[in-house]
Amino acid sequence: MNAPSRPLSQKTEIEGGVRAPQRHDSGHKHVSGTATYVDDIPTPADCLSVAFGLSPKARARILSIDLGPVRAAPGVVDVLTAADIPGANDVSPNAVHEPLLAEDGEVFFVGQPIFAVVATSHLAARKAARLAQIEWEELPAILTVEEAVAADSLFEAPYVMQRGDALAAIAAAPKVIEGSIGIGGQEHFYLESQAALAVPGEDADVTVHCSSQHPTEIQHKVAENLAVPFNAVTVEVRRMGGGFGGKESQGNALAAICAVAAKRLNRPVKMRYDRDDDMQITGKRHGFRIDYRVGIDEDGRILGVQFEQMAHCGWSLDLSMPVADRAMFHADNAYYLPHAYIRSYRCRTNTCSNTAFRGFGGPQGMVGIERVLDQIAFELGREPAEIRALNYYDRPGGERVMTPYHMEVEDNVIHALSEQLLASSDYADRRAKIKDFNAQSPVLKKGIAFTPVKFGISFTLTWMNQASALVHVYTDGSVHLNHGGTEMGQGLFVKVAQVAAEVFQIDFDRVKITATNTGKSANTAPTAASSGSDINGMAVKNACEQIKDRLTAFAAERFQTTPDQVRFLPGRVQVGEAQIAFEELVSQAFMARVSLSAAGHYATPKIHWDRAAARGRPFYYFAYGAAVTEATIDTLTGEYRFDRADILHDVGRSLNPAIDLGQIEGGYIQGLGWLTMEELFWDDAGRLRTHAPSTYKIPTASDRPEMSIALFDNENREETIFRSKAVGEPPLMLGISALMALSDAVAACGDGTVYPDLDAPATPERVLRAVDRVRGRAWETTRESGR
């Protein structure tokens, strides 16, 4: 065959391979308004809109319901109740039934969908949805974890992880400290609210476009509600306007009702939650209460610890089991607990069903142990950073390396990482300056805190740790890339495209990133647990390598050499002494009838978990990090400002340092917001009163402290995708240092005898309350917002 001469690249490096700070692939579209989200997809003029009619009651029986006024409202085309769902009327992400629309005349939380209105516009549907006439019999509601535990309203018997004999170790310890911390939940506040669009097809087919982290589950739920096989349903997700875990299971209802209505009416149907509806209907980060008792020696070393974790799960199970499990898995954070007893209560309450949220329970468990360390240091009058270091897991090879779930910590880097950060942040010097400042400042007080992070990477449900991908190389050398991961802004697509570019040694812009689609990459895991680039990157690498292997074999044969003489260089392939452009090789391979497509797969190795025994290796590896935050509080109002944050974080060998730095900063600020200003407030009737950004306050630009962020020089000891580490969730927990900095500032208001005992979120009110407490002027009343 003649080799048409294509100019050979002479580059020494491709554009946008792994390790390059490649910009977000959609950046240009984001800033131009041309990036398409679900509600932006052009639809035919006959497209309809859906809105749910919501329960105004936390727990009640419907005595009578009149939907006549709803049907009669302008623009209404159809009204559906549970009886109109052809299939399962189910949106549960687990094996336990969770109704799409209320069943049996019972409601379980304020905001529960009771019926669905299909109308000619979003506004018409929303207006009609408020017109139902319902008579109620109100039933007693459970709104807090304390009420749930007292009433034994639990999803399962308390689950225990333990190692050694904690109770005996505490009893025998020279000093025992105990306490309790309330930790509020958190609204995801993805900027794009939940949305779905269903387009009916022939036969039983339906195509769903949605804003979901879990297209495969959407596919399953749509099929089950339509009572059709999975293969009738195609789900596509191009991008989400933020997810953070809130779009792992919470989009099921929208997709299912749109699909049911679309098939019933044979018209496209779409739905988006108005923000207030979204915040009332969808689950949030689980609020927790954590009670603790810890036995320590004179130096502050933990001898034994007992945690009682009460997780506010809400009305349905959703993902609460693995969330509560992960809180237990992170009750140790970076600390060796020689004897540990961790008990978890999964509380069933009459609120929205709390769900996945960046960190997935881990942050709450971690706040528990960080609170313990903070209090130990306070009680002993010791430097908290030293008390923390004293309790760290040993370096690899040491003796103190076993977790409470009987997995050895083999990759510990927290010692070196901490030392480096404490030095680079001038921690000791600033601590001394803050002491001087506080001595001279009666109204404003400063505090500083250092906190570490060790976060386990892998789904704790082992079977979920798999991914699939589909790669086509076209005859012009351009690459079509598809995998099961979804893009929610975290930069997964750009990272995975960098992997493909790297394997083929072609420029990044030769790789077309395509929407996640269940018809291309099937049976996928949710994009969650920080696993996106780990597992999808590997699945794509696997697919690319299959093609590369075929190309290698073909090239060796064509040039009459051996495969080990074939090397993929930037934009070209070295075959023995000859070089050939990548696209030329591809073109020739096609003419020789070599397949240029491959489906890739990946299953995370080494992991296993025996839940009954609470033993195993649930995590492939750990990601580490640490932060130092400095805060100033106003002791007259409780207001505060975060002055400075220094972060050192371990992402292994970064696939894309720009993306990783963005994840770290965003995660830190989100964690800071969770523990400080973001307060969910339910009233006594179980109504969420902070159901919009007017009342629920996430950080704004001016809340960002002066920040210094660096990547820790490390390599994943496990064989992950180019030795990188997951980065989605771990940085969120760096924000715990903000809470502890406030605690430190409050402690500076007293004489060192009264611990601040600061609950989260540490709103100005809680800070002022704590300031007055340490000054011996405790308030008369307490106010507990719903948890």
Binding site: H28, G33, Y190, G489, Y640, I669, P693, A701, L768
Partner: protein, 480 residues
Amino acid sequence: MRDTLRFVLNGEAVSLSDVDPRTTLLDWLRERRRLTGTKEGCNEGDCGACTVGVTRLEDGVPRRRAVNACIQLLPMLDGASVTTVEAIAGPERLHPAQQAMVDLHGSQCGFCTPGFVMSLWSAYPDGPQPRRAVEDAIAGNLCRCTGYGPILESGEKMHALPAPDWETDPLPALEAVASAESLALTAAGCTAYVPATEDELATLVAAHPEAVIVAGATDVGLWITKRLMEPAALIFVNRVKGFDRVVETPTHVELGAGATYARAAAALASLSPDLGEMVRRLGSVQVRNSGCVGANIANGSPIGDGPPPLIALGAELVLRKGDAARTIPLEDFFLDYGKQDRAPGEYVSAVRIPRPKSPDSLKVYKISKRFDQDITATLGAFLIEIADGAVASASIVYGGMAGIPKRARAVEAALLGRPWTLETVEAALPAYAEDFQPMSDMRASAEYRLRAAQNLLLKTFHETSGAPSKTRLVGAEALA
């Protein structure tokens, strides 16, 4: 009288006569014009995802301002020029606000990005600004992904990029849709009146006492987008000539009731730096570009930030009904929760605020969970005159502590005539319980409100007693 609404959209004149006047600009852009770059994030003016630029003549000069499209009702745009994110790039390259965001990794999920871009685009003509001004420029935009660092950097570094050379003078397009005529637009069972003069306004309000008077719609917008109300008659004040006046005299600042917080900000700051700082934190750029000082009063909210400091300063309110005008002390306007001294057919016409003897004598403290764009838990305004070491006069006014903005009369009485000492202040604290029985809600508990309100008097004392240490976390007086 015209019956066609006219404005400029991305450089092209638009005429509308068959559109429901309650339609928001956001819905119209997205659903009717398929300009989907402008996003709906909250539909209540609190997240900024729907930010667009609106250009109007201000004192004869075109001025670009960022507003939230989700709570702009279409008739508010009569005579204005609207610019959306789709229309700011040049033929060959992006606008610097866009390019900086791309270069500096300012977008992650991208959904808030068009709003940030439009806020930066609106601020671009101001030239390079310090970090704090960039923070203010984007305080009305929420981002949940980035942590804001790259966006702030974009706001700074966009000025280092080549300036856009493709932008044209907005004046001809504005003049093409300008009109001295009033507008009455009727569709879908609703009539919108957009009078051009105050006499016409007075006649319309008197003739339609049931009509909702709309200024910036930062509150009325939510009646429509959230409470799903369907008012049948709306009277818009945005085109009333002279209604947006800001007049500074040696003794007073006078504001027409249609003067936005943005237009009034400098004049208010000239009365008192603390008042200026409060205005900086009131709402956001988008909210201050729409919301009006007079309307903030007229709406009677117990948590409106404007009234307490204005009452402390002794402001007066001019009310008009038909041809008759009357002037009352602002304090007397607020009768009870939801009840103001405003007769049917009457409206707030102007606010007149006397200058304090010394600008620094007014202390204003706004307390909320978040510094920027947050509704107040409690706000205290203190105008305390000390003569010969004793309290000669005291005007202490709080928001968020009662059903109306309310003076702390018992506290004032406990201070008057006494030496300005910590002992006097502490002795006055129990009087708060006489003045206020605040409520508990999602913003704060009653006990916090009371405790913080008392502490603000202590803070005022601290700041006026010559103590050297800092007491502020934000603003010009903040701890560095």
